[in-house]
Subunit: 290 residues, 2 copies
């Protein structure tokens, strides 16, 4: 008997990407524009940060590799759906160095592709074949509703947002899918008690990561006159519920600390990858400040 | 002990509508634009033909009333999602006598509402709490993919379509949700063998019903110069795989007969309501022709 080596992260991410694409395309004619658009988008995968988090958490909780890969594919598929739709709604022409789906295939195809990817994400999560499927589906639905509400808030917010608006948007738009990466493995493994902490961790990380990003983009956004950069908003906001914190770096610290502490409270060290990511971002911030 | 009266169809449709709306709104803030848009759309329910079919089929197959109502809510929610999106993509201003969602709340909100309703439909179907949930989800995903492919075909079809194109569009755009109304109860009750017949019945009904509708709209569409009316297309099409049939009435007969015969083959008379509907439409056609 040969011993089976545990597959590497990159193998698992690859498997996850493959199954996500297979499920999304499975009911389409290869010559349909929808098939072409989805194949095109999947061709440039991006960082797959949410899939990696989900795989890491799943394996820590003792889930089967096959389940880990499917949950990760579901979260990453939802993320891809949100990117295609965000690009359309924000009129962003470029995604991952290539023309965005709506730019290349038209608005209607982008809308249809988003719908199909949302449906696929449910097919993926239910293909795990668990008696907890209804709970996995409920978690997905909640994350989608929150993300959409965040997107709606973002699109409808004042032309000159304040920092509290921006935090609310980041929490709703970016938080839910990070949360879901931790939440689905917890639900599938029956650790329902910890779902709240997973959501807190994801929400805080979504905000903290956005501020971190905005600090790095500060100079460029200042030049471009971008009104939504959170680091710039802190300089100009007159009032905030986080008034005691008066620099973007402090605010990033606040949320990333919160994310790390919630992630660290998860069972079997299943939030370790998120907590590590927080520490990494925090030390990068400190290096830049030094 | 009091005897419990079996609830009427109208009670069951009401229950189905209520749970569909509750689930769609459950994760939204009441002051969000998404909440307002979905409440607005649900305010004018339409015919609920798919929900009625699904309830009838579910009860014939011996499913619990609660399950029947949830499956029906899932199918009707998908139908509502497709209407909101169709109106946006086809730039139709009016739905059920009121401004369409995109017209009243903007395009982005219509897009977001569609996403949320798709997600809700999965939450509904999985809330039935069956070990067959993954199969229900797979049926839903398939129906969504086909509907989207039909919509894409419709949007990308030649400016002057021929009758075969129009049949293909009607089959993919209208068929899958009629099929799903029969298919979900069959899957939930374990009658997987009959899923093929349910799909055939739904597809044929989708086409037949569209032709029936177009025959009734013929005069209006001729005046408006509408190019997609199937009854007009039959007059003008030069070639068709259904060449032997040279009137719209014959073509409607062909598909409605096919739908009725497939529906009648379903177990426990679970396709009876669809078969009856076919007979009703056929005799209306005959009356008009007489």
């Amino acid at each position: 008997m040969t011993t089976k080596k545990r597959p590497s992260y990159s193998d698992l991410l690859h498997a996850s990407r493959t199954i996500a694409e297979d499920i999304a395309l499975s009911e389409l004619s290869p010559d349909s524009v929808l098939h072409k658009a989805i194949t095109y988008h999947f061709n440039t995968p991006g960082s797959e940060a949410r899939a990696a988090l989900c795989i890491s958490s799943s394996l820590a909780l003792g889930l089967a590799v096959e389940s880990a890969v499917r949950l990760a594919a579901a979260v990453e598929t939802l993320h891809n759906a949100s990117l295609i739709q965000d690009d359309l709604q924000d009129q962003d022409d470029v995604r991952r160095g290539h023309p965005a789906v709506w730019k290349k295939f038209g608005k209607d195809t982008a809308i249809n592709a988003t719908d199909l990817l949302i449906a696929s994400s449910f097919a993926l999560v239910s293909s795990v074949g668990s008696t907890n499927t209804h709970r996995l589906v409920a978690s997905m639905t909640r994350a989608i509703a929150q993300t959409l509400q965040g997107q709606a808030r973002d699109l409808n917010t004042n032309r000159v947002p304040n920092i509290d608006d921006a935090i609310a948007v980041a929490k709703e738009k970016s938080g839910p899918l990070f949360s879901l990466s931790l939440e689905l493995p917890l639900v599938l493994s029956g650790h329902l008690y910890f779902v709240g902490a997973a959501r807190e961790a994801g929400a805080a990380f979504g905000i903290g990561y956005q501020i971190f990003d905005d600090i790095n983009d500060c100079a460029r956004d200042r030049e471009a006159g971008s009104l939504s950069n959170m680091a710039l908003l802190i300089e100009t906001s007159k009032s905030s519920q986080f008034l005691a914190i008066d620099s973007a770096e402090d605010l990033a610290h606040y949320f990333l600390d919160q994310a790390a502490s919630n992630a660290s409270a998860l069972p079997n060290n299943s939030g370790a990858m998120l907590a590590d990511k927080c520490v990494e971002l925090l030390s990068e911030l400190d290096r830049e400040a030094a």
